[in-house]
């Protein structure tokens, strides 16, 4: 499925919302690096998404 502008916006907003919600639901009382790694992975996914959008012609 091509990464269109609407799809990019939806996925981007979902990632940002997840960054707010997951720590207060699933990862509230962790005692190891789960929350830290979750936020790092979310940013890496966001960056990969942006690179894909920028390089595959999402920009016109």
């Amino acid at each position: 499925m091509p990464l269109t502008k609407p799809l990019f916006i939806i996925v981007g907003v979902v990632l940002i919302v997840l960054a707010y919600i997951i720590p207060y639901t699933l990862l509230y009382r962790v005692s190891s690096l789960e929350l830290y790694i979750f936020w790092i992975l979310l940013t890496i996914v966001g960056l990969a998404l942006s690179i894909t959008y920028l390089r595959r012609g999402g920009v016109k």
């Binding site: 940002i16 509230y28 190891s32 940013t43």
Partner: protein, 485 residues
């Protein structure tokens, strides 16, 4: 020890000045060259000036202390800024970059005035930039003054050193010297933080009977890897993160950097390289804070929870003088790279949208540019010198005060035809949102206003909501009356 600091500081200043002088070969003949590099900045310069402008001394002082005192939530707060910025830049930077060179934008207030078809709006935006960012710029200068005082050079020496270096590196070739020295300072920041963390992991922890795994185990057991009490309410997390989420759209010093890359490839590389720099730097800085906390738990480091800004200075005082002086200078580099970019951008908005809107268009635009630049450095220095409490405290609110610019900017970027001549709703939206921000700052004090809540929601969310609704309703009414006529 002070001799090491003096030597490294002199080295930093000398190399930076040589780089600034060399950058004059790019040739500055117009205000477009001076402020936006004639729209011909390469990938590396674009990315590093974006990163060095964004990341100030807050990272190595404030965020280290914040991670130390509040745990991994501090990383979440800073990382949300990064995630949102990657998203906003990817979405908007290409079209902003294209419009900037088509319409020959130099300053961000000029951009907003042009999109809405109003010089009055450009003037108001330029004034808001000054009110919000002069305190922020001053805080950088005060920070360096405090660092100088801490090592025995004296507070006022630090202020004067900063004023001189900021003026020199900005005056020499405008954005060319600022961007070139930003590459140098950005490298200094990232390399020194890597060196610092290596020293902590391989020297400081083992000398106190810890290793990385044991240190993380200690902070985990004390709850610092989860949501600590300060972050326990989501609204607190929201009040910290929301103003920074829109930083890429509201802060003129970074908006202006979207105009500068020489082609689309440089623009895309700017976004990607900046994101990589930001992620690595944020991880390094927060890990330093967490490792310092582990040392406190182990009884090998004083408990600085209530003086968290002292965590980094205390850590570097334990290091070898060469390591500590390199880290010390990296903090100064972070401040100066942010400060000179803000001053240069404010110089562009002041000279283009405040001075010239008064009708005084001189024949020598470069002379006016230099005069405005010197004036802004003088104002910032004077405030840092006398440290009026309210102005310095106001720096924490800079992004909150700029938040009303988010809706008018995003709507203008996405629907330029609709907002054209829609300046009245934009002015009302801006004055309403900024009014709420300044009112809460005066009424409750800037520090309290940052986390203040009305009806269970942070002030920043109210500002964003009210200014968005005001703008959209105004544009709707205007569009309806246009159709009727």
């Amino acid at each position: 020890m002070i001799i090491y600091y003096a030597i490294i500081l002199t080295l930093y200043f000398t190399i930076g000045t040589v780089i600034a002088l060399l950058s004059r070969r790019y040739g500055v003949v117009s205000t477009e060259d001076y402020y936006v590099a004639g729209y011909r900045l390469g990938s590396l310069l674009s990315a590093m000036t974006y990163a060095a402008t964004t990341y100030s001394a807050f990272m190595m002082i404030g965020l280290v202390g914040f991670a130390y005192a509040t745990g991994v939530g501090a990383f979440g707060f800073e990382n949300l800024y990064l995630l949102a910025t990657i998203f906003l830049l990817t979405l908007f930077a290409p079209s902003v970059w294209r419009m900037a060179r088509e319409r020959r934008w130099v300053s961000p207030s000029e951009m907003i005035g042009d999109l809405y078809g109003s010089r009055t709006l450009a003037f108001i935006v330029a004034v808001i930039y000054l009110l919000a960012l002069i305190p922020y710029a001053t805080a950088q200068m005060v920070g360096i003054g405090n660092l100088f005082q801490g090592i025995g050079f004296g507070y006022y020496t630090g202020v004067l050193f900063t004023a001189f270096i900021v003026f020199l590196w900005t005056y020499l070739a405008g954005i060319w010297s600022v961007a070139s020295t930003d590459v140098y300072q950005g490298l200094w920041m990232i390399v020194s933080s890597i060196m610092f963390i290596i020293w902590i992991i391989f020297y400081l922890l083992p000398s106190n009977g810890l290793d990385l795994g044991r240190a993380l185990d200690l902070v985990g057991r004390e709850g610092y890897l989860g949501i600590t009490s300060i972050w326990s309410r989501p609204t607190v997390f929201l009040s910290f993160t929301l103003p920074w989420t829109f930083f890429a759209v509201t802060n003129p010093q970074v908006v202006q950097r979207m105009y500068m890359p020489r082609d689309e490839k440089a623009l895309k590389n700017m976004i990607i390289y900046f994101a990589l720099f930001g992620l690595v730097y944020t991880i390094l800085v927060t890990v330093i804070g967490l490792l310092a906390r582990s040392l406190t738990i182990a009884g090998a480091f004083p408990d600085l929870t209530k003086d968290r800004d002292l965590v980094t200075p205390t850590l570097i005082s334990l290091a070898h003088p060469i390591v500590s002086s390199i880290v010390f200078v990296s903090i100064i580099a972070a401040s100066i790279s942010t400060l000179d970019s803000i001053i240069l951008t404010l110089s562009s908005t002041t000279s283009k949208d405040i001075y010239r809107s008064s009708g005084r268009v001189g024949s020598n635009k470069m002379l006016i540019t230099y005069i405005v630049l010197a004036f802004l450095v003088l104002v910032t220095t004077a405030i840092a010198w006398f440290k009026p409490g309210f102005v310095v405290e106001l720096s924490v609110l800079s992004s909150v005060l700029l938040l009303p610019l988010a809706p008018i900017t995003i709507v203008a970027w996405t629907k330029p035809r609709i907002v054209n001549r829609g300046y009245i709703p934009a002015i009302v939206s801006l004055i309403t949102g900024s009014g709420i921000g300044f009112y809460t700052a005066v009424r409750y004090g800037p520090k309290k206003a940052f986390t203040l809540e009305f009806l269970g929601l942070p002030v920043s969310l109210w500002i964003l909501t009210v200014s968005t609704i005001t703008l959209l309703l105004g544009l709707l009414v205007q569009e309806m009356s246009r159709r009727e006529t």
